[in-house]
Amino acid sequence: MKRWSISAGLLLVVAGCSSSGGSTDANGDEQIELTFSTWGNENHIAVYEELLEAYYVDHPNIHVTIQTTPFPDYQQNMTVLAAGQELPDIGWAAERMVPQFIENNILADLSALREDESFHFEDILPGTITQYEVGDALYGVPFSSPPHIIFYNKTLFEKNGLETPQELESRGEWTWEAFEEAAAVIAEEEGVYGANFFRAWETWENLLAHTRAEGGDLFNEDTTEFTWNSEAGISTLEMLDRMMFEDRSHPRAGDQVAFEAGNVGMFFDVYSYVSTARGIEDFEWDIAPVPLGSQGRSPILGQAGYVMFEGTEHPEEALDLIRYFASETGMEATSTYFAPPRVSVLESDAFIEQPGNPPRESMESTILNLSEESRVLPIHPEWQNIDNHILQGFDHLFGQTAEPADILEQMEASINPLVQE
C-alpha cells in the first residue's frame, strides 16, 4: 500500500511537471511552447530560425518548435494528427489542402488580423486571399504566391543559336508554337531534352497554363463541372504527346532528368524553385513567363499560407506569431525564397535584387507583371480523389494506350460525379 501511494505521488509530480504551458520563468511569465509545421527544406528553416531569434527578443517566454514533413505527405500527416487531436499550433497549408481543412473545421479564424492596423492587411494582394475566406471568417494568410513560370537554360539556347524566351517575350512573340519549336531544336543533341513540364511525374498542373492560354480550364467557374475535356484540353494533351513521342523533345515517363543537371532546355515550376536554381554554376539560366496562346495568357498561381489549427492551447500567442511571420518584416525575410503576396514587399528592391536572382527585367516580366493575370490552381474538397483519376489518365498517355480525346473523356466520366455530389 505504501509503495502504491509513493508511486501515485511520483506520477502526480511528473504529470504536474510535464503539463504544457504550466511553468513560469523568473519574471513570472508563463513559458509557452508553440509548434510550427512546414514542408520546408533546410534553407527555409534557416530563414525561420533567424526570424524567430528576433521574435524571442520581445517574447522571451515563447519558444517555437519547427516540425517539417515532406510536401507529398503533408496533408495526410496533418489529417492524421487532427484525428488524434495532436495538431501543431500553426503551420503552412497549400492551396489544395485548404478546402479539406476548412470543411473539417480544423482551422481557426484569423479575421482579427483584418482589424489590426499595424498588420496592413490591405497590402496583401486581394486575389491571393479569397481561398481562405468563408463568409466573414478568414482561415489563413498567404506568404507565398508564386506564378508557375519557366526556368530556361540560357547556355543551351545560345549554343543552338536560338532566341531566348525573354528576347521573344520582349517582342510579344513568346508563344506556345515558339516554345515547341525551340524545344525540338534543343533536343536534337543526344541526351538533352527541350522542355519538361513535370517536377515529379505527378505534377501535371503546369499543363493548365497551355489549356488556359487556349481558352479552356480544368473546371467551370463554380467547380461543379470538369471542363478539361474540351478542344483546348485535347490540344494540351496532344502537344505533350507530340513532344514526348514524335519530337522526343520532352522526357518520357520514368526518365530521371533535372534542370539543374543541365540537360533540360526549359523547366516549368513555381518561383520557389529559385532556391535550387541559385546554386547552378555550370550554365547560365534565366526565367520567363509561360508562353502566349490564342486567347492570351493566364498562368497558374501556386499558393501557400499560414494557418492556425483549432484546439491550440495558446490561440493568442499563435495568432501573434502568424501576425509576425506575415508582417512586412516576416515576408521580407521569407521573400528570399518565396514570391510575397504583400505588394510593398513584392515590388521592393529587396525582393527583386536578391543575390543570385535573374536580371530585374526578367523578374518584372515574369513575376511582377504576371501576379495580376495569374489565377490560383483549381481546388476542391475532393481534390485527392480527382487527382487520382487525372493521374490514371496520364498513365494512358505515358503508356500510349489511349488517345488524348479518349483520355479526357474518361477523366470527365469519373470526375464529374465527384464534383457534382
Binding site: G191, G254, Q256, V257, G399
Partner: protein, 309 residues
C-alpha cells in the same frame, strides 16, 4: 483403507496441492502479464476497434456513422477491388514459385563447404537485411527509362530503351523480379539448414543402388526437406499478399492500376482518401483471404509434406 493410502491421504491433508497449483498458476500469469498487456493494448484493442470501424462510415475527420455491412457490400461490388485482388493473386502467383525454386536452387548450389561459399551465401543474403525502401528506390533508378542501368545494358545489344515502370505489361514483372531478389536469401538460408539435416547414409545407399542425382533429389532430398518447403511457402505467400513498400516506392500502383495490390488499395483509401471505415473493411477481407489460404495449405500439407511419425 490400507496404511499406504492412509499416509498419502494425510500428506494431502497436510499440504493440499490445489492452492499450491494456484500459486504457480498465478506466477505464470504474472510472468506473461507484461506481454499480455502489450498485446492487449497494442494489438487486440486496435484490431477490435478496426473491426468496429469496418462497420462505419469513418471519414477520419468529422462524425462517424454506423452503417452495418455496407462497406463490405460496397467493396465486393467495387470493380477496383476486383482488379486489385486480381493483381494481388498475380503478384503472389508470380513471386512464390519463382522465389521458392530459386532459393532451393541456390541452397543446393551453395550447400557444399567449398572455398568462397561463405561469400556467395552472404551476397545472396545481403538484400534481406537491406532496407526495403532503399532497395526499391535503387531499383527504380536501375529501371529508369533514359539512362537507367538496365536500359544502358540493353542498349549495347541494340534494344530500344523501355519505360519499364510506366508500361502496364512490364511494371508487374519488374516488381516481382525485384521482390524475389530482395527476399530469396531468407528462404535460401532456411533450405540450407534443412539440407544439413538430410542423413548422408541415405545418399550413400541410393548411390549403391545406382540412383542418379535427380532421383536422389526427388526421392530423398525433396521429401525430407518438405516441411521446410511447406513453411517457406506459407511465409512467402503471406508476405506476397501483404506487399506494399515496393509498390509504393516503385510504381504507386500504376500504370493504369496494373500494380495496385490490396495493401496499397487499403492505404490509399485510408490515408489518401481518408475513408477509414472502407479501408478497415478491406483490411479484414484481406485477413480472411490470408486465413483461408493458410487453412487450405495446412489441409493440403498431408498430401505432400513428409512426416517421420
Amino acid at each position: 483403507m490400507n496404511a499406504d493410502v492412509q499416509a498419502e491421504w494425510r500428506q494431502k491433508k497436510k499440504r493440499p496441492r490445489k492452492p499450491m497449483f494456484k500459486r504457480d498458476e498465478l506466477a505464470g500469469w504474472l510472468f506473461i502479464s507484461p506481454m499480455l498487456l502489450g498485446f492487449t493494448i497494442f494489438m487486440f484493442i486496435p484490431i477490435g476497434f478496426a473491426f468496429y470501424m469496418s462497420f462505419t462510415d469513418w471519414p477520419l475527420l468529422g462524425q462517424s456513422e454506423f452503417i452495418g455491412t455496407a462497406n463490405y457490400q460496397a467493396i465486393v461490388q467495387d470493380p477496383e477491388f476486383q482488379k486489385v485482388m486480381k493483381n494481388t493473386v498475380l503478384f503472389t502467383a508470380g513471386l512464390v514459385p519463382f522465389n521458392i525454386i530459386l532459393a532451393l536452387g541456390l541452397a543446393l548450389l551453395l550447400r557444399h563447404p567449398l572455398p568462397g561459399m561463405g561469400l556467395f551465401r552472404t551476397i545472396v543474403f545481403v538484400p534481406v537485411v537491406t532496407t526495403l525502401v532503399v532497395w526499391a528506390i535503387v531499383w527504380r533508378y536501375m529501371f529508369a527509362t533514359d539512362f537507367g542501368f538496365i536500359n544502358s545494358i540493353l542498349a549495347w545489344f541494340g534494344i530500344e530503351p523501355q519505360a519499364y515502370l510506366y508500361n502496364k505489361n512490364l511494371a508487374m514483372p519488374v516488381v516481382i523480379l525485384t521482390s524475389v531478389l530482395k527476399n530469396v536469401g531468407l528462404n535460401m538460408v532456411l533450405f540450407l539448414a534443412a539440407l544439413q539435416m538430410v542423413p548422408k547414409n541415405l545418399y550413400e545407399a541410393a548411390r549403391i543402388d545406382g540412383a542418379g542425382s535427380w532421383r536422389q533429389f526427388k526421392n530423398i532430398t525433396l521429401p525430407i526437406i518438405s516441411p521446410t518447403v511447406f513453411l517457406a511457402t506459407i511465409i512467402t505467400i503471406i508476405g506476397a499478399m501483404k506487399i506494399f513498400a515496393q509498390i509504393f516506392v516503385m510504381t504507386k500502383g500504376g500504370p493504369e492500376s496494373s500494380t495496385k495490390v490490396i495493401v496499397y488499395y487499403i492505404w490509399e483509401k485510408a490515408f489518401r482518401l481518408f475513408d477509414m471505415g472502407y479501408a478497415s473493411a478491406a483490411a479484414f477481407i484481406l485477413f480472411f483471404v490470408i486465413f483461408a489460404f493458410t487453412l487450405i495449405q495446412w489441409w493440403l500439407r498431408k498430401r505432400w509434406v513428409y512426416n517421420e511419425d
